[in-house]
Subunit: 326 residues, 2 copies
């Protein structure tokens, strides 16, 4: 089988491609080739199958037909303008997150028609818990209405609707995954409003100070990068007829307060690590974070075999094993 | 104030324009002019203000900038490819219902930018209970997730999301109305799957036979064309800051079974009318209708002053008074 990953140079895209290279298989079948695409060319990959790495902007009109024209069997659509940038650059956010998604869906539909319906790939679309906006209940159920408070969340919610309709029409076999906040993100601190959720673990583990801009009582919904990759692999192999007409899932994760995050850090790395967290309240960040989901009851995803960590210490452990050299 | 009605030649569009011509006012202000647009030119209107009637396809790229360029104060976006046609003609449905809506929103955004933010019209968008798809609870609450089972419902749900985001950004002040099935529709029978809900009242009242393709126990959510016009007028005058970030409302209506509809007809027009309903079960229609909502608890809309009939006899009475010469 052939795999296309759009957004392959991002944090999750890199982890997914490394995993596919290691396994050589996806959804029970040997991988015959991978097409790795991002706005910058993904790094070459040492894999037991041929790999093509290319730089493309999916908002450019010639790109989607070219990607779909190779008729990949499984497509991971991970590419996004992130939430902060989609908020400051309205046109770019809509062009990539909505326009690029719609263009890819249309290009697949065209290949489906050209093939007389024979070409009908699996499409795994990464959505986000950013489709939800306050007010909401303490625990969000599977039938709670998306009401995004950002353009990014709006674009993801629209992608989910298109995914369901194109799947219902039989143009492809799609599944949407509303990823929890992925934590602990490896690498340098970034300026995302959510960055501190990773920073207060990653930086102290490296002996560096971390800024905490919100109170210890702030509760949020997390899963590790390792779980994110497992979600994607599960989505690629699952019998999607089990989804019925509702093609997007809330996913399992860990609901933890910042205080519980810090307590888990203390248990794993001791008091001296926890002491590196400096409290520097930031009202702007606190206000943004107050509009974010705190917990889910992802009953459907669990019944379909999606699994994540069950406590925050396991999320820290996954980071140490996968990104901190054990 | 100036009013733009897109979809002015449709059943609700005509009733709305006639009402505006009669009142001469909207949202407490005198109307200075009306721009009536549809795919066929709306009929000329005898009104106490200047009226421009034009035929346009909102899917054509030059149209939205032209409509928004006149900077109307209140815009009613009623135009749609209806559900049956959007299902059989995928491209046309997306081009008009999604592309046309998006183009109009973008054109307004451009006028908003050109005016330095001063131009920020009221935009009333008609959505539909078709955004909901089975399975759902017997009574659908305000926070139940849309999960459309048609391309039409998908396009309406996407329009709602765009409406909320463009409103949040301050490009216009938008409100979406999820209209119940509008019943009793005047005029000739049509081939919509929902057509019988009106047909079993309208045809017997005119002494004609009507076909009933589903069982008497089928329950659905109705409001009269008169209520639909009242919804639009209320939406044009309401202080939309009361909506918060959730810009689309489930609306009041009457939850009635087909049996209750027929009983109401019997009370209003006697046994001889009810006897004109011929039962001719149609499995295809029955299956489609089984995926439609049966009842709502539209608490938000009610608290914001939206009102509809409270029983089906009142819906029949409205039809007799407004469309059957009393």
């Amino acid at each position: 089988m052939n795999v296309l990953i759009v957004g392959a140079a991002g944090m999750i895209g890199r982890k997914l491609t490394q995993r596919l290279a290691r396994d050589g298989r996806l959804a029970g079948k040997a991988i015959d080739g991978a097409h790795l695409v991002d706005i910058v060319a993904p790094d070459p990959l040492d894999a037991p199958f041929p790999v093509v790495c290319e730089a493309f902007d999916i908002a450019a009109s010639y790109v989607a037909p070219r990607l779909a024209g190779r008729r990949p069997d499984v497509i991971f659509l991970l590419a996004s303008i992130v939430s902060g940038e989609a908020e400051t650059d309205f046109d770019k956010g809509y062009a990539v997150n909505l326009g690029g998604t719609q263009a890819l869906f249309e290009a697949i539909r065209r290949e489906n028609a050209l093939s007389g319906g024979a070409y009908r790939p699996r499409l795994v679309f990464t959505s986000s818990i950013a489709v939800f906006g306050a007010p909401f209940p303490d625990v969000i159920g599977d039938e709670f209405a998306p009401a995004p408070l950002t353009s990014y969340g709006t674009q993801k919610a629209i992608g989910e609707l298109l995914l369901a309709d194109y799947s219902r029409r039989g143009f492809f076999d799609g599944i949407g995954l509303r990823l929890p906040t992925i934590c602990v993100r490896p690498g340098a601190p970034n300026k995302a409003a959510s960055g501190f959720f990773s920073g207060i673990i990653r930086e102290p583990l490296a002996g560096k100070e971390a800024i905490l801009p919100v109170g210890d009582d702030v509760r949020h919904w997390h899963a590790s990068p390792r779980s994110a990759v497992e979600f994607l692999l599960r989505a690629a192999e699952l019998d999607l007829s089990l989804l019925g007409s509702r093609r997007t899932l809330n996913l399992p994760g860990v609901s933890a307060t910042v205080g519980e995050q810090i307590e888990a850090l203390r248990r794993v790395a001791g008091d001296q690590a926890a002491r590196l967290i400096r409290r520097e309240p930031n009202e702007t960040i606190a206000r943004i974070v107050a509009g974010w989901p705190r917990a889910f009851d992802p009953a459907r995803a669990k019944s379909l075999g999606f699994r994540a960590e069950t406590d925050f210490a396991a999320i820290i452990q996954a980071y140490i094993e996968d990104d901190f050299g054990g």
